[in-house]
């Protein structure tokens, strides 16, 4: 096979333009001088970034999102990695059932999950709380972590752990000295992914959030519906930059493409 060929490459290029268009437009708009969504902008200025810094609701939402995303990432790993270890290493009855249960939440749309959580959390007074939002996000991040780590652990070279055992390492030492270090790339990717998934999660948050406990995506939805200025563009640009930095960091440390193969 001699490669992609000119016709296909041009077609693909056009589609790439469509994929990247919204992002490029948003970043350009972030520096717009206009008060409305006008493209191309009539001039450029960094004023919207300055405005961001003084927008209290958005900043509060940003802080909340970071807090929740961090908690969600940590908890998802703390609960998901042991489960992944058991699923990939131990043979026990009902293993496949357990595996299916862990992946089940990803089958239903977040719309349904969000509705279910709304009806469930309200009588428990968990709506509009950090705990409620974090728990809601974990319906997505926990299955992801379990799935990614199970795959990562299963792709370790064969007999590595047996070798460590024959050399005198007890089961716990094997995990500490061999399994976990080799699983480190997967762990790093999982942490970053959980954080980003929680940070960007919108639909469940819309159900579970409240007027004073809103994550950043929720606050952004409210803003887009009520105003028509490019402030969100500036915020979006900052978020895109942040996500890119995380992705590049993970790629550097780990090989993102390889980790994403899970």
């Amino acid at each position: 096979m001699s490669g992609a060929g000119p016709a296909l490459s041009i077609l693909a290029g056009i589609v790439y333009a469509v994929i990247l268009a919204p992002i490029i437009v948003v970043v350009t708009l972030a520096f717009s001088v206009d008060n409305y969504i006008v493209f191309p902008p009539s001039g450029f200025s960094p004023r919207w970034f300055a405005q961001l810094a003084s927008n209290a609701p958005l900043l509060a939402a940003l802080r909340l999102s970071i807090t929740i995303a961090t908690a969600v990432a940590v908890l998802s790993l703390a609960i998901g990695v042991p489960a992944a270890l058991a699923l990939s290493k131990a043979r026990f009855r009902g293993r496949e059932t357990v595996r299916a249960i862990f992946l089940a939440p990803l089958l239903l749309p977040t719309l349904i999950t969000g509705l279910a959580l709304l009806t469930f959390f309200t009588p428990l007074h968990l709506t509009a709380t950090i705990a409620g939002l974090a728990l809601g996000h974990m319906t997505i991040t926990l299955p992801f972590v379990v799935r990614m780590m199970t795959t990562a652990l299963a792709t370790l070279p064969p007999d590595i752990e047996a070798a460590a055992a024959t050399l005198g390492a007890s089961p716990w030492r094997v995990i500490r000295r061999v399994t976990l270090p080799l699983a480190a790339p997967g762990l790093i990717a999982c942490t970053a992914l959980s954080f980003l998934l929680s940070f960007d999660e919108t639909v469940i948050s819309l159900f579970v959030a409240g007027p004073r406990a809103a994550t950043l995506p929720v606050e952004m939805v409210r803003y887009v519906e009520s105003r028509t200025d490019p402030l969100i563009a500036a915020l979006s640009t900052a978020l895109i930059a942040g996500s890119l930095i995380v992705v590049v960091l993970v790629e550097r440390l780990v090989g993102f493409a390889r980790a994403v193969q899970a």
């Binding site: 064969p158 055992a165 024959t166 005198g168 089961p171 000295r177």
Partner: protein
């Protein structure tokens, strides 16, 4: 009492019996091979010995101590895996030193012993390399050094030469054998390669379908195979359909041969191609030989030897003669002659 004793080890997986009451004794310093085709249970036996697989029945003892219930990490056995199983995230030094670190040796002492081991396997100077930077042969030596440096009671080798190319395999066979002799370490190796077993070991245990069929020195296994399987598995063989003659002897191609027929239905005569001489039909032969006549069907020059196929009344006989001898014409009548002691008769309903 032997140094290493496997007693009626049995392992079942669902319906199949992978290992069926395997028993074996190994003396201290001895090198024994578990030889058999793939799937015969030899690797499973080795893993039970190492504690990586729990046997359903049977026991393992080392120097008189029953270790059957002991977990793998307390058995102090050096295991060299077929895939080498080197730790990809550690360099050669830390790979080899892994077991020493588990035993609590200090860094300087670890370094000293690892250097010794590297010298032993002739890999000095590569301590800082990672496994992926090493060739197959180098990885194998690292795996061996790693297993030996912990001064194990037993060395276990699992098909460890099968991933190497032919030339390297030859070299490594000699090296491992000389290291094993030099250290006097009790060794059990699993292989499907009979040359490996015969060359590297003091004794060979032939396995098939989970059972150990025969244990003996390489010469015993080759010259005196106890079962049909062993006869056919080690070395090359001729198999001729045979009948029981009226006087209780074996009859092949209508000719009665000077060997008694055992009990059993379908008899087969076994004789190795290299033990057969071809002579003119008119030439007389002594009484202590078997003799069959036939015609030469074809002759093939295979470099070191010539392979001749003799067509008889009821089958074919393959003969190997060293090259350089006068050749015989296709179609000419010839007598195939061999010593009585070089043949055996097996009944087909036994293994």
């Amino acid at each position: 009492m032997s140094y290493l004793e496997l007693s009626a080890l049995t392992k079942r997986y669902r319906e199949t019996v992978a290992v069926d009451r395997a028993s074996l004794t190994v003396e201290q310093g001895e090198s024994v091979a578990l030889l058999g085709p793939s799937g015969c249970g030899k690797t499973t036996t080795l893993r039970m010995l190492a504690g990586l697989v729990a046997p359903d029945e049977g026991s393992v003892s080392v120097a008189g101590v029953d270790v059957t219930r002991l977990p793998a990490h307390r058995r102090n056995m050096g295991y060299v895996f077929q895939s080498y199983a080197l730790f990809p995230h550690l360099n050669v030094l830390r790979n080899i030193g892994f077991g020493l670190e588990e035993r609590g040796f200090k860094r300087a002492e670890v370094r000293r012993r690892v250097d010794e081991a590297l010298t032993l396997v002739r890999l000095g100077g590569l301590e800082q390399r990672r496994p992926r930077e090493l060739s197959g042969g180098q990885q194998q030596r690292v795996a061996l050094a790693r297993a030996l440096v912990i001064l194990p009671s037993v060395l276990l080798l699992d098909e460890s030469l099968s991933n190497l190319d032919a030339k390297l395999r030859d070299t490594m066979r000699q090296e491992i054998r000389s290291i094993q002799r030099k250290l006097g370490i009790t060794t059990l190796m699993v292989t499907h390669d009979q040359v490996e077993a015969l060359v590297m070991c003091d004794r060979v245990a032939v396995m098939n379908a989970g059972r150990i069929l025969q244990v003996g020195t390489p010469v015993e296994i080759y010259e005196s195979p106890g079962t049909r399987f062993v006869a056919g598995f080690v070395g090359r063989a001729n198999w001729l359909a045979a009948k029981r003659s009226e006087s209780g002897r074996v009859s092949v191609w209508g000719t009665e041969l000077p060997i008694d027929a055992p009990r059993g239905q379908h008899l087969e005569l076994f004789v190795r191609p290299q033990r057969i001489r071809l002579v003119a039909v008119s030439e007389p032969t002594g009484g202590d030989v078997a003799r069959l006549t036939g015609r030469i069907a074809r002759s093939v020059f295979v470099g070191d030897y010539v392979e001749t196929v003799v067509q008889g009344a009821d089958g074919e006989l393959t003969v190997e003669t060293p090259s350089g001898q006068p050749s015989l014409h296709d179609g000419s009548e010839v007598a195939a002659v061999w010593r009585v002691g070089d043949m055996r008769v097996f009944a087909r309903d036994t293994t």
